[in-house]
Symmetry: C2
Subunit: 184 residues, 2 copies
């Protein structure tokens, strides 16, 4: 069989296509919620598919995270944390903030989670993959989405928009572990 | 081939064994957490394997369910509820009660779930399977387990030990649906 120009073109196209697939695969290996510029998107089905870590009630009206917070992560990250005490790269923490509903029950005053207000999202990155993106640092990517536009991360710089509230959790990799019984 | 006494015994033993298997299967079909007398046991791995429904904060010291409540059920019951608006038979609601921890964060006062105190458990039974067991009625089996002995249901009669706190939820099959965003 003679090697023809037609065959050369087929080889070249196949090669480029496979290289493309491979590059895409590599990008997806880190996280399906992060693009190649470090832009973070909000996971969708965490309530039905992920594991619940714990909740916070932050009632003060002036608090930046005022509301009822439910926190979720991937099941495999919980397993890894229980074994190693660390969150593996790609771990996503979704902290869903809802307004606090309240009512008098036969058991007295009770508080629960009402309508959704916003989401805080952290994505573990132990390698400093996005040094030029100001939403990445201290071992995590940081994001904030508001209910009115869940497709837009409104955090522009984690140092000014996020880290302030996480100072008390500095010694536990910036995560408030004490409220997450699932990890114990 | 002649039919012998030996063959008759083999047939009889096989028949009894298969009947036994079948009966056991039927008992397990309703719920692995309920025995044939309607005795309820506490599911173990709900935090890692089940779906989280929502939380309640009940701060009043005198409240019978004082604490932070995290509520879980089986993933398939969530799917069924979303389709039909009803909990299928065998649905287990585990309400885990923890003491309320509190602390001043950079975001102001916050509350979260501390050590475990007890569990409220409800198991759906639309058929009234256990009419002679006083922990069953109103379409559910009812149980209360304390942290010091998670193997013992200390509820002796759901009418006196359980239903009082569920009166406000009578119109939603005795379940406080409004606090469970996962079902919406």
């Amino acid at each position: 069989m003679r090697f023809t120009w037609k065959m050369a073109v087929v080889f070249l196209v196949s090669f480029l296509w496979l290289s493309g697939l491979h590059a895409q695969e590599k990008a997806e290996t880190f996280s399906p919620y992060v693009d190649d510029q470090g832009r973070i998107s909000l996971p969708k089905d965490y309530r039905a598919k992920w594991t619940y870590l714990g909740s916070w009630a932050v009632p003060m009206k002036k608090a930046p995270g005022q509301g009822f917070h439910d926190v979720f992560t991937q099941p495999e990250s919980v397993e890894a944390y229980k074994k190693t005490g660390k969150f593996p790269d790609g771990t996503v923490l979704v902290k869903e903030i809802r307004k606090i509903d309240a009512g008098k029950m036969t058991t007295g005053q009770a508080y629960w989670a009402g309508d959704i207000a916003s989401w805080f999202v952290m994505i573990k990155d132990g390698k400093g993959r996005f040094k030029n993106n100001p939403n990445w640092g201290n071992g995590w990517g940081w994001a904030l989405f508001n209910a009115k536009d869940p497709n837009k991360n409104v955090s522009t710089n984690f140092q000014t928009d996020c880290i302030g509230c996480h100072i008390p959790a500095k010694n536990t990799d910036w995560v408030y572990i004490q409220g997450y019984p699932t990890l114990k």
